[in-house]
């Protein structure tokens, strides 16, 4: 037994490959048997991943989900930023430049609209909960943009650690919701072509949420949505501590 544990511990990434393979197989089986293929296997696999992350977070008290369990740390490598970005870029192989160019302008518009709308929505909720200082309202609003924009903005304008934590939590809620809800609503928001996928990526913007949501909807849309989403966090970090903060300060 100890020998087996040693093997697993010494081969983290390989263990992750095997484990994820098993999860994907189980998910496709569940999709076929329980939902007759109505809910895509990938969507179920992502849900199982999130459920495991919740359980692991409760069990370990850590912040990196299953990756905080020593034996399963390889999942952190496999699902970490490096391989995620490597995978996202590879999906662009075979994409037509003409498709990207066609929706380029509306894609840019959607990025700025997405940052602004998410910020206003988050800031409005902060106001409803009784926050009246510009720094806290801005930080929570920025958290609703993405969980990176929140703390970057908050740190730049000197928010309290309690508010920083709230803004990260708001961003994580958004990322998780986008992953889970996208495949369910794709049909109703016309998310079935490259152009609307670019608009979707720009509006929602949270890289992991968009990446997961589109993967569970139709993998062929991933490169288009990822293309715009990847600019979103940068634009958010640019506007958060500057334009958005000054606007809030002028208003309260």
């Amino acid at each position: 037994m100890q020998t087996l544990v040693n093997v697993i511990a010494a081969n983290g990434l390989v263990t992750a490959f095997a484990l994820v393979g098993l999860t994907v197989w189980l998910s496709h089986w569940l999709s076929r048997v329980l939902t007759h293929g109505r809910i895509h296997g990938s969507a179920i696999a992502i849900l199982l991943g999130l459920a495991a992350a919740f359980w692991a977070g409760k069990a370990t008290g850590g912040t990196r989900g299953v990756a905080d369990i020593g034996l399963l740390s390889g999942l952190g490598v496999m699902g970490g930023g490096m391989l995620r970005d490597f995978g996202i870029v590879s999906t662009a192989f075979g994409v037509q430049l003409s498709e990207l160019r066609r929706a380029g302008a509306i894609g840019v518009v959607s990025i700025f609209t997405g940052v602004l709308v998410a910020f206003v929505a988050g800031a409005a909720v902060a106001l409803t909960f009784g926050y009246r200082d510009a720094v806290s309202i801005t930080t929570i609003g920025a958290g609703a943009v993405t969980y990176i924009v929140g703390p970057v903005t908050g740190a730049a304008i000197g928010a309290s650690s309690e508010v920083l934590a709230l803004s990260v939590a708001a961003g994580v809620v958004k990322a998780v919701l986008v992953m889970v809800v996208t495949p369910l609503v794709a049909r109703f928001i016309g998310l079935n072509n490259p152009q609307s996928a670019m608009v979707f990526g720009g509006l929602l913007g949270t890289t992991s949420g968009v990446a997961g949501g589109l993967a569970a909807t139709d993998p062929r849309l991933v490169p288009y949505g990822a293309m715009t989403a990847t600019f979103y966090t940068g634009v958010g970090c640019l506007l958060g501590p500057s334009l958005l903060y000054f606007s809030v300060r002028a208003l309260v």
Binding site: V24, A45, G49, L50, A51, A53, F54, G57, T63, R64, G65, V66, A67, M78, G79, D85, F86, G87, I88, V89, S90, T91, A92, F93, G94, Q96, R102, A105, I106, G114, A118, A121, V125, G141, A144, V145, V152, A165, L166, A169, A170, V172, V173, V176, V178, V181, I189, G190, N193, Q195, S196, V199, L203, P219, R220, A226, T230, F231, G234, L238
Partner: protein, 136 residues
């Protein structure tokens, strides 16, 4: 050679991330601005360039497609590494702020899509390989 494709992919990602970091510095932002998007553009350009043909055809293409097919499994691993507890324990404010922002933006997708050029729906997924997007 499979590695040629993988190396091209790696070079695109590194160049894109570098450009994204430089763009962030130039804008005075503490974040990478569009690094992955720039990398994707580089890959698209590379795959249509005549000079780089040996890096994007035959076996080398297989090296790029493999990672495209690994994309969903990587996303499953990513989901398993999310801080879901923070999302749930963040309380009502975090939940409402995140949910309200998500919902409004979802509702805007069809509106903004209408402003842009009309999109043609992709053919039904059954007719293509779901992992690579290539016709079966």
């Amino acid at each position: 050679m499979v590695i040629y494709g993988v190396a091209l992919l790696a070079a695109c990602l590194l160049a894109g991330q570098y450009a994204g970091d430089l763009l962030g510095l130039w804008l005075g932002v503490q974040a990478n601005v569009g690094g992955v998007g720039i990398a994707m553009l580089l890959l698209v350009l590379a795959s249509s360039s005549r000079a780089l043909r040996p890096l994007v055809t035959d076996e080398a293409a297989g090296g790029i497609r493999f990672w495209g097919a690994m994309y969903i499994p990587i996303i499953v691993a990513m989901a398993a590494g999310q801080n879901v507890v923070a999302a749930v324990d963040g309380g009502l404010l975090a939940l409402l702020a995140g949910a309200f922002a998500t919902l409004t933006c979802f509702l805007l997708v069809p509106l903004l899509s209408r402003w842009g050029p009309p999109g043609t729906p992709l053919p039904p997924p059954e007719s293509v390989d779901s992992a690579t997007g290539a016709p079966r």
